[in-house]
């Protein structure tokens, strides 16, 4: 009986698929490209990470040797891992909160001024590599804007080499990344705030909500949950993908690996040394960290306030 049932349901599925053939045709072009350039690379990475493929010799299956080497024998990778986590732990949450706070604050303002301020906050993230202007502002000689100000005010005697002195490199990179962080999440929040039903606030005022802060906590945040979850994904993914901005500012590789991230390590082994197997192991680890932290935060957000 059970066998009959599966055959029957298989036929039903087949019939439905045949009936939906137009739907498949419409979806197919996108899905083929999506598979080729997004899913297939992940599968290739996972597979190659178990080999010693280096684009010269034939590849051998070596199990988890690459991962063992990464964690036990590669000091630079440990630095990169540490830096990546520091960057993500600082720029992710702060960037997220900045998006939330400014979207909320801007929402209180009349529409014309709101549109203008939205532009001011959003502009950096869409201005391409305008962030390289920071390298002029913080230029390492006395013609750098910040250095010249500090020199003139007598705070320092010699210009600070912001992009080459490990003491300052991480801080300056974090500042620039935060400057760039009011992107998609910011717009999502703005839309979220505008979409909240006004009558909720009016009835809440009757029910004894006293300040805008209480309003925010008891009404706004609970009604924005879907937007908060989507923004979190955008912010977290962005906070792990900042390697290019860092390279643009301090060069690659950075002085004493002070701001070396997993992304740079990946670029080093994959793009420069062509050790594809090893690079694939690095990519797989980065992939797992990104996916893992996204899923974790999403789970936490979906539980919050329930």
């Amino acid at each position: 009986m059970a066998g009959m049932k599966t055959i029957k349901s298989k036929n039903a599925i087949w019939a439905k698929m045949k009936y939906d053939r137009i739907a498949y045709l419409l979806a197919l072009p996108y899905l083929i490209l999506f598979f080729t350039f997004t899913i297939l690379p992940i599968l290739i990475s996972i597979f190659f990470s178990l080999t010693d493929f280096n684009s010269i010799s034939i590849r051998n299956f070596i199990g988890f040797e690459n991962y063992v080497r990464l964690i036990l024998n590669d000091d630079i990778f440990i630095i990169a891992l540490k830096n990546t986590l520091i960057f993500a732990a600082i720029t992710g949450p702060i960037g997220y909160l900045l998006c939330f706070f400014f979207a909320w604050a801007v929402n209180e303002i009349n529409p014309k001024l709101r549109a203008f301020l939205t532009l001011c906050f959003y502009a950096p993230s869409i201005s391409g590599n305008a962030y390289l202007i920071w390298s002029l502002l913080f230029n390492g000689d006395s013609y750098g804007y910040v250095n010249s100000l500090l020199l003139k005010m007598g705070i320092i005697n010699a210009p600070i080499r912001f992009f080459h002195d490990p003491k300052y490199m991480m801080t300056i990179c974090i500042v620039v990344v935060l400057w760039l962080s009011l992107g998609t999440s910011f717009l999502v929040f703005i839309a979220g705030f505008q979409g909240i039903d006004r009558t909720l606030y009016e009835s809440a005022a009757v029910d004894g909500i006293k300040s805008r802060w209480q309003e925010l906590w008891y009404i706004t945040i609970p009604s924005m949950k879907p937007q908060m979850m989507f923004s979190a994904v955008m912010s977290i993914t962005a906070s792990f993908g900042i390697g290019d901005v860092i390279s643009g500012l301090v060069g690659f590789p950075s002085t004493q690996y002070a701001v070396h991230t997993i992304q740079h390590h990946l670029q080093d082994y994959g793009g420069t040394r062509f050790e594809m197997g090893y690079a694939s192991a690095i990519a797989t680890i980065l992939f797992s960290i990104m996916l893992g932290s996204n899923l974790l935060v999403n789970k936490m957000l979906s539980k919050a306030g329930e």
Binding site: I13, M17, I22, L26, Y30, L31, L33, F34, T38, I42, I44, S45, A105, E108, A115, T118, L119, C120, A123, P124, I126, S127, G128, N129, A130, Y131, L132, I133, L136, S142, Y143, G144, Y145, L149, W179, L187, V188, I190, G192, G195, R198, A205, S211, Q227, F230, M234, T237, F240, G241, G243, G248, Q263, G271, M276, S280, A283, F287, L291, N294, S302
Partner: protein
Amino acid sequence: MTHKKLNRSLGGNIFVFTIIGIFAFFMTIPLIYAISNSLKPLNELWIFPPRLIVSNPTLKNFYDLFNLMSASWIPFSRYIFNTLFISICGTGGHVLLASMCAYSISKLRFYGSKIIFRVIVFSLMFSASVTSIPNFLIITKLNLIDNYLSIILPAFAAPLGLYLMKQFMETMIPDTLLEAAKIDGAKEARILFTIVMPIVKPAWLTLIIFSFQSLWNSGSNLFIQSEELKTLNYAISQILAGGIARAGVGSAAVVVMMILPIVVFIFSQSNIVETMSTSGMKE
């Protein structure tokens, strides 16, 4: 304002507005500095200490950018053309393919569409840096090295656009409307292009803007190796690497680069916000 202002104290207003004001100012300083620098004549660039605002603005840097550069390097206009070409083709294909797929997933709900959408949501959770190395191998296998298709084809299938379009269609297009059209004998493709697409205009405008921005900003990568095929982003980092000596021309290049996305955003802000209103994640 039609609604009543509730729970607002003067002190709180002043506090919030002051913070926004200060931050808005600091956010825009680097951009103002770029614009100001791009207008500075050579002698002002070498003033110590450097000034934030230009006193004798000139367009000489822009002139140099477009004319003098052509003598020694690839003409700057070539980089602009390359970038425009990639951006326009990539964006056009992305909007078309993503809309078709989003319609199919959100409204035709074929067998397997739920799981496919889940995979697409997962793909928002990692950035392109993870896939760059295997993508290089794939692009090589497809024989697309030094071909714009190596940038354009992956852009067609950007997951964010599909996600936003699918969410918007799901919320904005009632099933009854599609059923009515089907009873009238309209084919799926026709329904998509004549009924659905006009309704989801804010969404495809948003897709155009997002895709255009990311392609316009696409930098140097392993796929494009010939100098004359490279993009604006690459050219600018090369110019700015020259330091203060090229600060004026470099800033002019930055201004050229940022002006287009910003102007486009000014005109499309309300559409983007409308699209984002349906972008929330349900689970």
